[in-house]
């Protein structure tokens, strides 16, 4: 079987694996993109905190990825990751200063994964790209739009790849729901509305082990006002964007994917209601308007950090039905049909959805009449696609396939920027109490 390059890339992207028969050709293509040996990409991690570790675990599951260096300003994070990687036989050089890492390692490196706090992404990513390295940067691109835009400009100027960590864009479950069922098949008809939420039970601030407390001078050197702010950076304006950016960004990003346009406006309400020592809004509710080719559509989003009710999930609501989905399938993984919609059985026969789950009788007590409501509420058609990997792995694979084979990035800097514009506006809308109108040009870096 001979595949042309495009077919190969599609197959490789879809299957996420390398076909043996096309390997020779792939290696040839890869030489264009990968500087050194495409069978082994050498990477570094900047920011080895909670998310850095999750990305590390996923990278270690991808064949041909080798860590050669890590950078973190906190010795606790350094030690953890260095020890962890050593268990896998990856001996890494450890740096406190990213500039030193780049200067020393750049000739050996192909790419850098960045999971530092939001406010450092641009500085880290720009320096890496300027040194000829491809970058996977966690979302949010930045807590400042100027800095986010600078990342897009640097990627364009250097020709380096820049992938932003909105990992749902590479998740086969989301690709099936949005690209296949909504866009291609039209299962739920015109999508007129969407809702999504990410709610968390109240939590305490993060602490730190006493023996790893950073000195005031080190904190100051790297711009952190205190250990509390360093650990809980996402709550402070200098370093992060609060829950709407931290959590909301993943899901608000999907609205553009659904409708193919960026929002036209946003209204929002929120406040520092519960955690008096935080700067960012702990509870935010907002409504976006999208002027889509099929008419006006609206999306409601909430992120609450004082109640875990309804957890996290998204609902795309069309005239013929709704798709409920969540990154964790137990929280959402089905299509709900409107009673008037065309029969969905043919879609089930094609394997696009699974057959409707039979209504489960709530009770077997014999003197209870048939519960009509239960019967009507049932009728969820499960989505058939599973993600059989950790949630971030396909997005990292997409990035590495882009380096190796020229596969298109699922969330290049330009896309990440569009989402940053939409999401960061919510904080401004809350602060001003004003509706924010967007121009299409606002979304171009």
């Amino acid at each position: 079987m001979e595949l042309n390059r495009t077919q190969f890339m599609q197959t490789a992207a879809a299957a996420g694996t390398l076909l043996a028969t096309t390997k020779a050709r792939a290696v040839e293509n890869a030489k264009l993109a990968a500087k050194k040996n495409p069978d082994q990409l050498n990477i570094a991690l900047i920011g080895a905190g909670a998310q850095g570790r999750i990305l590390t675990e996923s990278c270690l599951k991808i064949p041909g990825i080798r860590f050669i260096a890590i950078c973190d300003i906190w010795d606790y994070s350094q030690r953890y990751s260095q020890r962890y990687l050593k268990k896998y036989g990856h001996e890494v050089n450890v740096y406190e200063d990213y500039q030193e890492l780049i200067a020393t390692e750049k000739d050996k490196l192909d790419a850098v994964v960045i999971a530092s706090p939001d406010w450092m992404h641009a500085e880290h990513a720009n320096a890496c790209m300027n040194a000829g390295l491809h970058v996977y940067s966690e979302k949010e691109m930045s807590n400042s739009l100027e800095k986010a835009a600078s990342m897009v400009h640097t990627a364009a100027a250097t020709g380096q790849l820049l992938q932003i960590g909105h990992q749902r864009r590479s998740n086969p479950r989301y690709i099936h729901a949005i690209e296949k069922l909504i866009h291609e098949v039209g299962l739920i008809g015109t999508v007129t509305n969407a809702t999504a939420q990410w709610n968390r039970a109240k939590t305490e601030d993060l602490g730190w082990p006493k023996k790893y407390e950073m000195g005031a001078d080190t904190l100051a050197k790297y711009g952190y006002n205190s250990m509390t702010e360093f650990r809980n950076w996402r709550w402070y304006k200098k370093y992060g964007g609060g829950p709407i950016v931290d959590l909301g960004s993943h899901q608000i990003d999907l609205f553009e994917w659904i409708w193919g346009v960026n929002p036209k406006s946003v209204i929002a309400s929120g406040g520092v209601d519960y955690y008096p020592n935080h700067e960012w809004y702990d509870n935010v509710m907002c409504i976006y308007e999208y002027d889509t080719p099929d008419g006006m559509a609206r999306a409601y989003y909430e992120t609450l950090t004082t109640t875990g009710h309804r957890g996290f999930s998204e609902a795309f609501r069309g005239v013929n039905g709704t798709i409920e989905i969540a990154e964790v399938p137990q929280r959402g993984n089905s299509a709900l049909r409107e009673a008037h919609a065309p029969d969905w059985q043919p879609y089930a026969e094609k394997g696009l959805i699974n057959s409707v789950a039979a209504p489960i009788a709530k009770t077997t007590t014999k003197n209870v009449a048939v519960d009509v409501r239960v019967t009507a509420e049932a009728g969820a058609w499960p989505l058939p696609v599973e993600l059989t990997k950790p949630a971030h792995q396909p997005h990292l694979e997409n990035f590495f396939n882009a380096i190796r084979y020229g596969t298109p990035l699922n969330c290049p800097g330009e896309k990440g920027y569009e989402t940053a514009v939409a999401v960061l506006a919510v904080n401004r809308a809350v602060a001003s109490g004003q509706r924010i109108e967007f121009n299409p040009s606002d979304f171009h870096a």
Binding site: E57, K87, G207, K211, E386
Partner: protein, 266 residues
């Protein structure tokens, strides 16, 4: 004088984890316990068989003769499970007789999979909680928290740093006169017919384990204690004696069908 003790709980692995910390200020103990719970969640994300993206979820989806890369923690946990499987003569079996002997754990490639001949279906419910407790206890070393009890629901508890006086719950313990235990740098795990009825299935017979009414294992490792308590439910007392003798630090308490308490290795 008694030291102040702080306790915190968290829902995970379909049970309630509890951390009890002595010798620390409340705020610090709370933050340390939060780190413990984050580690439990991390381990659960690797071992949860209901998640197709977890290591174990992926291993279960493999066919015979296939492999998948897994995390080092999954390798460690499976290696412990294999040890318990062998030492118990196959009575501790995370596949409940569907093919644990077909499992391949390959450290050199960090992969797990199945031999050519077949495959099983793994459920680490009989060792995962204990394993998560062991891992979480390692995190506390960084925090300088040494006097701690980590309790994984009602079945497995690890006590570190000082002698802790712990109550043993359940009707069989009460009936047989086993109601409290002193532990230091040891874990106790219990299995029995009381919590969820007879929930341990004998992999050899496919039927509920009924040899004993209840069994407890004590071992420095919570994962080991967890696995052994399951195995002890099905092992004859003479076999348990041999096992404890061959593995110093292992203690067993078994409630026989006549409600008498058999102590081994005490």
């Amino acid at each position: 004088m008694r030291e102040p003790v702080h306790s915190f709980t968290h829902e995970a692995m379909t049970t309630t984890f509890e951390v009890i910390i002595a010798g620390q200020e409340h705020a610090y103990a709370r933050q340390a316990s939060a780190a413990v719970f984050r580690e439990v969640e991390r381990i659960n994300n690797l071992l949860n068989k209901y998640d197709a993206g977890s290591d174990i979820g992926q291993v279960n989806l493999l066919k015979a003769d296939e492999r998948v890369r897994v995390s080092i923690e999954t390798l460690e946990c499976l290696e412990k499970a294999i040890w318990a499987y062998h030492i118990s003569g196959g009575l501790f079996d995370p596949t409940i007789g569907t093919g644990f002997h077909e499992l391949v754990v390959d450290r050199s490639t960090f992969s797990v999979g199945w031999k050519k001949g077949g495959k099983g279906e793994i459920d680490l419910g009989g060792i995962g909680k204990g394993f998560a407790i062991d891992k979480a206890a390692e995190i506390l070393k960084d925090w300088g928290v040494d006097k701690v009890v980590i309790n994984g629901g009602t079945s497995t508890v690890l006590a570190r740093g000082k002698e802790w006086d712990l109550g043993v719950g359940g009707p069989w313990g009460t009936k047989a006169g086993f109601t409290s235990v002193h532990l230091k740098n040891q874990a106790l795990s219990g299995s029995g017919t009381e919590v969820k009825g007879a929930h341990i299935i004998n992999p050899k017979t496919g039927k509920p384990a009924t040899r004993h009414l209840a069994a407890w294992a004590i071992h420095p490792s919570a994962a080991t204690a967890d696995a052994l308590s399951t195995a002890f439910m099905m092992m004859a007392p003479e076999k348990i004696k041999l096992l404890c003798a061959a593995n110093p630090g292992t203690v067993a308490f078994v409630v026989a069908p006549d409600e008498s308490l058999i102590k081994i290795g005490v």
